[in-house]
């Protein structure tokens, strides 16, 4: 018996691409391609990675908005793919989601009162009066004035809509909430309000979070453990502090070095990656990061590294998928190379 509330085993979600006159399948998006995660009850797992790497798809597949191509999701020890419809619905009560753009997720023609009452109705909970009381309690908890019940989503700011989205997600007192970039669209001053609210709710309700984001400072702040994703795969996962203190995968190292530090007196060595993220339709052979990796060797182009315990970290659950994990890239040399490249370019003359 483990105390993992959620366990994801080798999850795959491939989307077919159709095209041509006959609308035949002409390709596959390997959006999520073998992801394994474990989240302990009451903890937060941060899932971080660049746009298009498959973070949202992981969240949606866990929720079974998509039927996974392969792999298992165990929630509270139960394999979700073996559950019937009714069991699944009951389980969903305990597994909620918050979205990046609360506007899209809130029905614009429903009042806030209706939106928040809906989960209670779906699960036939309480009398209308009891539900009304619950809705008001929820609004109060997330810091929205009670008179909101008769108003519509567009009458609220982005931050307020996110609060409403959170209220809906916690309405039925779930065990776990998947937060998909809940603060990415918000201003700095509102972002900290929402992060604090999420932390408070976690403490009060012993919530478990899967927190998806691309902002590494936000992820670090809210998470106990962090998994770094690249092109449909987890490349490194570890205890949050260890990941930042000793990142082992060259991708993680680059991501961390690319964070702009809000302190002008700090001048850090930047590691600039060359090129863009490749497409998940034709992911590179071998290690998917090899096309941009600063320490790439021949082996990386053919042999795919497995996610396994990193050398020197046994027992600390620091996993990394790199043949040369922990070998610090010689970024010095690389940046000299790119400096040389810059010099070779024709100068813009004034």
């Amino acid at each position: 018996m483990t105390n993992n509330l959620l366990e994801v085993r080798n999850l795959k979600m491939h989307f077919p691409i159709h095209g041509g006159v006959l609308w035949r399948k002409i390709g596959t998006v390997y959006a999520v391609d073998g992801v394994s995660l474990k989240i302990r009850a009451g903890e937060t797992l941060g899932l971080v990675g660049e746009s298009g790497c498959g973070k949202t798809t992981v969240g949606r597949t866990i929720l079974r908005i998509y039927d996974p191509t392969d792999g298992d999701v165990l929630f509270g020890g139960k394999n979700m793919s073996l559950l019937g419809r009714k069991e699944l619905r009951n389980l969903r009560r305990n597994l909620q989601m918050i979205f990046q753009d609360p506007f899209e997720s809130l029905n614009s023609r429903q009042t806030i009162g209706d939106i928040l009452e809906e989960p209670f109705i779906i699960h036939s909970i309480g009398t209308p009066e009891e539900r009304n009381t619950e809705v008001r309690k929820l609004l109060d908890r997330v810091g929205i004035p009670e008179n909101a019940v008769t108003r519509f989503p567009h009458e609220f700011s982005g931050g307020q809509r996110q609060r409403i989205g959170i209220a809906r997600a916690i309405a039925l007192k779930p065990k776990m909430v998947i937060c998909d970039e809940p603060v990415s669209a918000l201003d700095v001053s509102i972002q900290s309000q929402i992060l604090n609210l999420l932390l408070e709710l976690q403490e009060e309700m012993n919530l478990t979070y899967l927190f998806i984001a691309h902002d590494l400072a936000v992820i670090k702040h809210i998470s106990d453990h962090i998994a770094v994703m690249y092109l449909g795969k987890i490349v490194e996962s570890s205890d949050a502090d260890a990941l930042y203190e000793r990142p082992l995968h060259p991708y993680t190292q680059t991501l961390i070095s690319a964070i702009p530090v809000p302190d002008p007196t700090v001048k850090r060595e930047k590691r600039i990656l060359i090129g863009d993220v490749p497409s998940p339709i034709n992911p590179p052979s071998g290690c998917r990061f090899h096309t941009r990796c600063p320490i790439v060797k021949d082996r990386c182009k053919t042999e795919e590294p497995q996610l396994c315990s990193a050398p020197g970290t046994e027992g600390k659950s620091h996993l990394v998928a790199c043949h040369y994990a922990g070998q610090r890239a010689d970024f010095q040399e690389q940046s000299q190379n790119s400096a040389r490249m810059m010099k070779k370019l024709p100068a813009i003359s004034r």
Partner: protein, 349 residues
């Protein structure tokens, strides 16, 4: 190439009597700028009495939350406000010996995209989706260098794309905007803005929609281009990390007004306006302990139609007092450091 600028080297004297004289190191001076929009709820001043100076060859950052007037300020400088709803109501935008706020449209044509260029917030809306990249860059060349031949333009375009780090530029010019990544589109926007070797480049959140690794590439590129050409950059962002990394001086805006301006190190070390202080203390930082409460600025920005009397930050300010219902004036609070707060001197960090 300098000759195409000759026509504006000796501009006609402005209609009003006093000659404009900017100090030696200043390239752009915004003075008491007011920009208004007619809306259903009446006229709103999206930019209300904004003043700041931009120093030659430096990077000035404008930071502030959504709707505070960053884009409207830059559109005012470019004279690209949506018509007829938006207009510059009063104030000056001094550039060399001209007041951009008042010069006629023809003259503005010789400045816009030429001596002052802009990169827009969303590259996809700024690029025309039905035209190939090559054609769009060609148009910029044709507009500004009417004598340049087709072959020359092609060569220059390819060179320019290579310069901003686009691999295979010969191939890219035959592609459409949707065929390339967001980072690549932003590079193309930068390339197009640089065609005329502008003296001032206004970049409106050029990296906000991009991933951190791509953002790092673009920021490095802009630094390199500035080193090389000596151009002045106005960089708009809401990311204090980007400000710290890139800028020499900073303007902090709040609800259409300037809250504080300072050299970057001074701003981060000794913020004087409670809004700046609040911002700096509310961002999650890597070096801080995890899962502890962040400081917050309570409440939210008032809408432009429901502004309070006096200081616009008063409903969120931890130091608010009676006097705050009077609009505070810009005060000198340090070397080259100004804040608009009644209590800014007495603050200690």
């Amino acid at each position: 190439m300098r000759n195409i600028l000759d026509g504006i080297a000796n501009p006609v004297r402005q209609s009003h009597s006093d000659t404009i004289k900017l100090s030696e190191n200043v390239i752009l001076n915004i003075k008491n700028l007011v920009t208004a929009f007619d809306t259903e709820a009446g006229t709103v001043r999206a930019v209300d009495d904004v003043s700041f100076e931009v120093k030659k060859g430096q990077t000035l950052g404008i930071v502030g939350e959504s709707g505070c007037g960053k884009s409207v300020t830059s559109l005012s400088i470019m004279r690209l406000l949506p018509k007829p709803a938006g207009r510059i109501e009063s104030g000056q935008i001094l550039f060399h010996d001209m007041d951009i706020a008042k010069i006629d449209a023809d003259k503005m044509h010789t400045i816009r995209g030429n001596r002052i260029s802009m990169i827009f917030q969303e590259p996809m809306t700024a690029l025309n989706p039905v035209h190939k990249i090559g054609k769009q860059i060609r148009e910029v060349y044709q507009l500004h260098y009417s004598k340049m031949g087709g072959k020359d333009i092609r060569e220059k375009s390819v060179e320019m794309l290579r310069k901003v780090g686009i691999p295979d530029p010969e191939k890219r010019i035959g592609e459409y905007p949707h065929q390339i990544s967001g980072g690549m589109r932003q590079r193309i926007m930068i390339a197009m803005a640089l065609v005329c070797k502008p003296e001032v480049l206004i970049a409106d959140e050029p990296t906000t929609a991009l991933d951190v690794t791509i953002q790092a590439q673009i920021l490095e590129l802009m630094k390199a281009l500035q080193r090389e050409t000596g151009m002045t950059i106005i960089f708009i962002t809401h990311d204090l990390g980007v400000i710290a990394e890139l800028c020499d001086e900073v303007v902090v805006m709040y609800a259409g007004k300037v809250a504080e301006t300072a050299p970057v190190i001074e701003l981060f070390k000794h913020p004087k306006h409670p809004y700046t202080k609040g911002l700096l203390s509310s961002i999650p930082r890597l070096e801080n302990q995890r899962k502890v409460k962040l400081n917050v600025i309570k409440g939210m920005v008032p809408s432009l139609c429901e502004l309070p009397q006096g200081c616009r930050f008063q409903n969120r300010c931890p130091q608010v007092q009676k006097i705050c219902s009077v609009q505070p004036h810009k005060k000198s609070v340090g070397e080259n450091h100004f804040a608009s707060c009644h209590f800014s001197e007495s603050f200690r960090f």
